[in-house]
């Protein structure tokens, strides 16, 4: 048996292939209940330690050539990052509000001056996205080798902000372009040890526009239909005496169909996008391949939705595990890598966790 030994099957070119697998972990329901209970008892303090436990198990379930990934973040780091971020946000927002109010009072100018605050918060979200990804890469190891991002969060946040404003100005049509642009930036900044990931220069947002157009026009139609239904619903309510009981069912079925259509086109776009991004992500001579399908995704999302609703959010770790499992099982690496060339990264490790990402509530796992 070769896997579980060195695991790397020697290939004809001399490099090793990377076999990405998922080993189903046990005890997630119990872990979820324990985390929820301790979080309540400690007034939320345990939240960060519970999160670390969940991540350690999920990371451990991901195997490359039979050897698990390792999560080395700590609850203390996450808590510290959160406290620092919330303090900075708190002081910043209060100082700004007091300044604007003491200069302009409660006037139209003061209302207008709220806008820069929102842009600022959006910019901070960009910082948070970059720093959170960097923190997670730095706290993830395989065979002791950890990752990092080499770029500057500030410069990323700048791109994040102006492309975001462009999406608003183009009524959403800049979205695929922006997503590819940001993903390219994050990918090219990513290091696994000393080894860079590369996003294909030739890969543009072009192929994403067909599914995006489908999503956009469906969204437009749904909005129109909902508006129409609301109007006719009001008309119905106004001569309530003539309305029949069956009308409720008609409206219910109509709403369900609309929700299904909306979910379908959105999931289709995401599946196409993520598969496309993975295919053009390279490590040395190889590249990734993701095989997400709309049917699978639909079942996954619906299942997760129901689990969250019926457990009042307590089973969130189970949902996170299911998401991770789905992606890992659909992900493979095509080609080989020279493991010798992946040496340990030598940059500084920050001592605090994802702070702003936690405070601004952007977080997948």
């Amino acid at each position: 048996m070769q896997r579980g030994q060195d695991g790397a099957r020697p290939s004809s070119s001399g490099g090793a292939s990377l076999n990405i697998t998922w080993r189903e972990p046990s005890g997630f329901v119990w872990l979820s209940l324990k985390n929820a209970l301790l979080t309540i008892l400690t007034l939320g303090l345990y939240y960060f330690w519970g999160k670390v436990q969940v991540r350690r198990r999920i990371w451990h379930a991901i195997r490359i050539n039979g050897e698990p990934l390792e999560y080395t973040g700590t609850g203390r780091e996450l808590l510290l990052g959160f406290v620092i971020a919330i303090t900075i946000l708190f002081i910043g927002i209060v100082a700004y509000a007091v300044l604007v109010f003491s200069v302009f009072g409660e006037s139209v100018v003061a209302k207008l001056l709220e806008a820069p605050l929102y842009v600022m918060l959006f910019w901070l979200t960009g910082i948070a996205v970059y720093r959170a990804r960097r923190y997670r890469l730095r706290r993830t190891r395989w065979r002791g080798i950890r990752g990092t991002l080499t770029g500057s969060p500030v410069s990323f946040a700048y791109t994040w902000t102006w492309t975001g404003l462009l999406v608003v100005l183009t009524l959403g049509w800049a979205l695929p372009w922006r997503q590819v642009k940001l993903y390219r930036r994050l990918t090219n900044d990513t290091r696994i040890g000393t080894q860079a990931l590369r996003f294909d220069d030739a890969a543009t947002a072009g192929p994403l526009y067909a599914p995006f157009a489908m999503m956009w026009f469906s969204g437009f139609m749904v909005a129109l239909l909902v508006f129409g239904a609301a109007i006719s619903g009001i008309a119905l309510a106004m001569n309530a005496g003539t309305a029949k009981f069956t009308d409720v069912w008609v409206y219910g079925a109509f709403g369900l169909v609309l929700a299904l259509v909306a979910a379908g086109v959105i999931l289709h776009y995401h599946a196409v996008k993520l598969n496309y991004l993975a295919r053009h992500t390279r490590l040395q001579d190889g590249h990734f391949r993701l095989d997400l399908r709309i049917g699978d995704l639909f079942r996954l999302v619906l299942g997760n939705f129901l689990i969250l609703i019926f457990s009042l959010g307590i089973l969130l770790p189970v949902v996170q595990k299911r998401l991770a499992r789905h992606f890992v099982e659909k992900l493979e690496f095509v080609g080989t890598v020279d493991l010798d060339a992946i040496a340990q990264a030598g940059d500084n490790l920050e001592k605090t966790g994802e702070g702003f990402a936690e405070a601004l509530d952007i977080d997948a796992f």
Binding site: Q2, G4, Q5, D6, G7, A8, P10, G14, A16, R23, P25, S26, L38, L41, T42, L43, L45, Y46, W49, V52, Q53, R57, W59, H60, G66, E67, P68, E70, T72, G75, I86, L89, F90, I93, V94, A97, V98, F101, S102, G105, E106, R141, R143, G144, I145, R146, T150, I192, G193, T194, L339, D340, A341, I342, A343, Q344, G346, D347, A359, D361
Partner: protein, 388 residues
Amino acid sequence: MRKPWTSTPSEHARATHRVHSARAALPVPPGSHAGTLSSGQSAVAEPVLVSASASGLRISFRDRRGEEIWPWEVLVAAGPLLKGEPILLGHRDRPGARLFIADDALREELLRHAPNLRKESRGGARIWPMLLLAAGILGVFAWLLYSSFSPARIIADMLPRELHDKLGLALTTSMTNGRICNDPDGQAALQTMLLKLSVSRDEMQRYNVVAGRIGMINALTAPGGRVLMGEELIRFARSPDEVAGVLAHELGHADHRDPEAALVRVAGLSLLGMLMFGDGNIGSLAVLLTEMSFSRQAERKADEVSIARMRRAGANPAALADFFERLMKKHGGSGEGGVSALFQTHPPTKERIARLRAAALPSSRPILDNAQWRALRNICRSTAPLTD
């Protein structure tokens, strides 16, 4: 950035690659467990056999001669140590070095001998300090609630006076829709009442008392010494002493800077809530106002001020008790729509009313004469925009 490692381990590992396929297929001797060892300097791993010895884990290389011992005390967990799961270990003194054991057979022995791993198996985080801290935080909150120490008041005192004035103006404007009552005789009566309740003309200048329609039987004190007497309250009162009692009570809040502290508290808490829970809004001033409430102690102290000022003016301090009782009867004891937020959150208790009654003077003379009282009741005969 640092240069990639180009040291001997990687050369060595390159050699292991070539021979690996032949050796790794050899059978694993009993008592030994197959695994890999990586140096932490590159992503190459060497196949090894791991077995337990008296002093630690014995690691022998499968593709070359030699072995090493990792003593029990240097072993740290690099992943959860679970039944049925492979084991991933780190070395205390060699950051990045990892020992991977493909099965869980050594788990019991590791938990028995390796001190750091015993700790890990208990869940990693220490719960008791956290529970203690949580209890401590609850204690501090309880203490803040029942003591007179108020961080909000300290912060409020640090804010510039202009800010308090602006906030007071904005609050008064939002409550009155920007219009106050300005019948000249009524205003004169109100100022007479204020003067009689004040120690001196100088002290009187510290307050800015106006009347206006606010849609409920209430009076309120805003930051910066601003007192707004509701026309509804003036009409509901049966004597000038009742109005004066309320006014003196509000002057007490102004003296103690209660509204300043309350605003800081509400703004701070709602902003904190927004940051922690991701929604809620900082809110308009009107929302702030309805959420603004004073503690029981603040109300009692304001009552004391009311009693002292009414006595000095030679008026009847117990009139305020009559007023409170009639107001409570009107609203059925508890608050309903239109009752002031102040009265709703801290309705005058029996104890407060008893104190006011006990302060009654043997003889008193109404604070305003009949003509002045009539003028005050008609103060809203004409209105004007509120200016600073």
